[in-house]
């Protein structure tokens, strides 16, 4: 999940296989988010590369679109895994993950609620403050945030947050 958009949705977006409403949601997000535009460009280049590769080796390795799709998923999963591993200890990676959680929460119960839910979760967790959330106290912070989310978004919203935050 990147900024509330799942990996599957990114792949389908690049393959132009998304429903119109979902496609419009992603495009609206891309208009505002430079980070995702950059990410999208990178993935589009990878997609193009895989297609070109498939064309070049069509006779020797008859790759179908389905396989390209799976390979693209693989590349995307590796990129995300690598980013997660690299960022596991760094403060910017934690901050970015908190930002993602905030965006997921904001879509459900508003920006103000999301910002304050993160603040209260951090304050009442082992971190003690928003800026002190680290890899070590991440689970304590996430548990608090999930419990707040269960009040505003119910069990489904809380589980979404938990799954996304529990990397």
């Amino acid at each position: 999940m990147i900024h509330g958009i799942s990996e599957q949705a990114w792949i389908q977006y690049l393959d132009k296989q998304l429903e119109v409403s979902e496609r419009e949601r992603i495009e609206a997000h891309l208009a505002d988010c430079a980070e995702c535009r950059e990410f999208c460009k990178r993935m589009a280049r990878t997609d193009e590369f895989l297609h070109r590769l498939a064309d070049e080796h069509a006779e020797r390795f008859p790759l179908q679109n389905e396989q390209l799709h799976i390979n693209l998923a693989k590349v995307l999963a590796r990129v995300l895994d690598a980013e997660a591993r690299e960022g596991a200890l760094s403060r910017p990676a934690i901050a970015q993950r908190m930002k993602y959680l905030e965006e997921i929460l904001a879509a459900m119960c508003g920006e103000w609620t999301a910002v304050n839910a993160l603040r209260v979760a951090a304050t009442s967790s082992l971190a003690g403050a928003h800026e002190h959330v680290t890899q070590d106290n991440w689970m304590s912070f996430l548990k608090k945030l999930t419990s707040i989310a269960s009040v505003f978004c119910g069990d489904a919203g809380a589980r979404l947050l938990w799954e996304y935050g529990n990397v």
Binding site: C109, G110, S150, G154, A156
Partner: protein
């Protein structure tokens, strides 16, 4: 899962259809034509309102099941469901169609008594639902604040309520031969005013949230409680000045009936918006889990 089918769009379509058909039946009368579709109009109005409340009931019960970790909110949505269920019964009790089986029922004081026997528990559940919700959100400690303007609105509601209760002339049950009916109307008004005051505070919370699907649901709930209260109070005030206003002022009667028809759909819309949040979260979760479990080709 009813939430995936009973979307906010469907509720708005239901409201538009009801309003359209009802206006089609009622407009000739408004323009002085002598065509009356009282039975058809009454049947349609009751059926559509009961349908809207039934949808609200089903959605609210489903939403309550979403709060296994938060008992306050589980109860709050169950109370709102009970309010919708009793409102269905109220639609039956106040339907002019009962005149067909019980001659002169709607003009008899017994109808007023029956109505208030349903209204009081319905309003109690509405108050409990709104207050439960307010308490649950407040307990989290995010910093929701009630502003001076909200207190002024609540003070206004209290003033109108006190004026009505003390003057009593604007109350439909003031002349009722049944003591229970007269007392219940006072209690019902008190509860409705409390619901309106609670909805003012919830509306402030919705504004403070800064968007999101939950805020939409809260706004609809606010509108549902506030519109009911406004209509009851406006009717009472009109009754004070023009006791025969329903018969003599066609336009006011038209507007009043029209507004009452939107009330059940607002309850359904609030449930649909809240349920839409769950549907959204479940879809996102499925996408995320599917992406995570996607097989990687060698």
């Amino acid at each position: 899962m009813i939430a995936t089918r009973a979307t906010p769009r469907l509720m708005l379509l239901g409201l538009t259809l009801q309003a359209g058909v009802w206006m089609g039946l009622h407009l000739p009368v408004l323009f002085g034509r002598e065509i009356h579709f009282n039975v058809i109009e009454g049947t349609f109005q009751s059926a559509a309102s009961i349908l809207a409340f039934a949808l609200a009931l089903a959605l609210n019960v489903e939403i309550a099941g979403e709060y296994r970790q938060t008992p306050w909110l589980r109860w709050a949505w169950l109370f709102l469901g009970a309010n919708a269920g009793l409102s269905m019964l109220r639609e039956v009790v106040q339907s002019p169609l009962l005149n067909l089986v019980w001659k002169g029922y709607t003009d008899s004081p017994l109808q007023g008594l029956h109505q208030h026997l349903v209204i009081v528990p319905a309003n109690s559940f509405l108050v409990l639902g709104l207050l439960g919700m307010w308490w649950a959100y407040r307990q989290v400690g995010l910093g929701f604040v009630t502003k001076g303007y909200d207190y002024a609105q609540i003070a206004g509601i209290v003033c109108v309520l006190l004026a009505l209760l003390f003057s009593r002339r604007g109350l439909t049950q003031a002349e009722s031969p049944y003591l229970v009916g007269r007392v219940l109307q006072h209690v019902g008004l008190l509860l409705l005013a409390t619901a309106a005051a609670a909805s003012v505070v919830l509306h402030r919370m919705a504004l403070q949230m800064g968007g999101g699907k939950l805020a939409r649901a809260l706004r609809c709930l606010t509108l549902y409680a506030a519109l009911r209260a406004t209509l009851v109070l406006a009717e009472a005030l009109l009754f004070l000045h023009m006791p025969e206003w329903r018969q003599t002022n066609g336009l006011l009667h038209f507007l009043d009936t029209f507004c009452w028809q939107t009330v059940p759909w607002l309850a359904a819309l609030a449930g649909a918006y809240r349920a839409d949040l769950t549907v959204h979260a479940q879809k996102e979760l499925q996408r995320y889990l599917a992406g995570k479990a996607a097989p990687i080709a060698a």
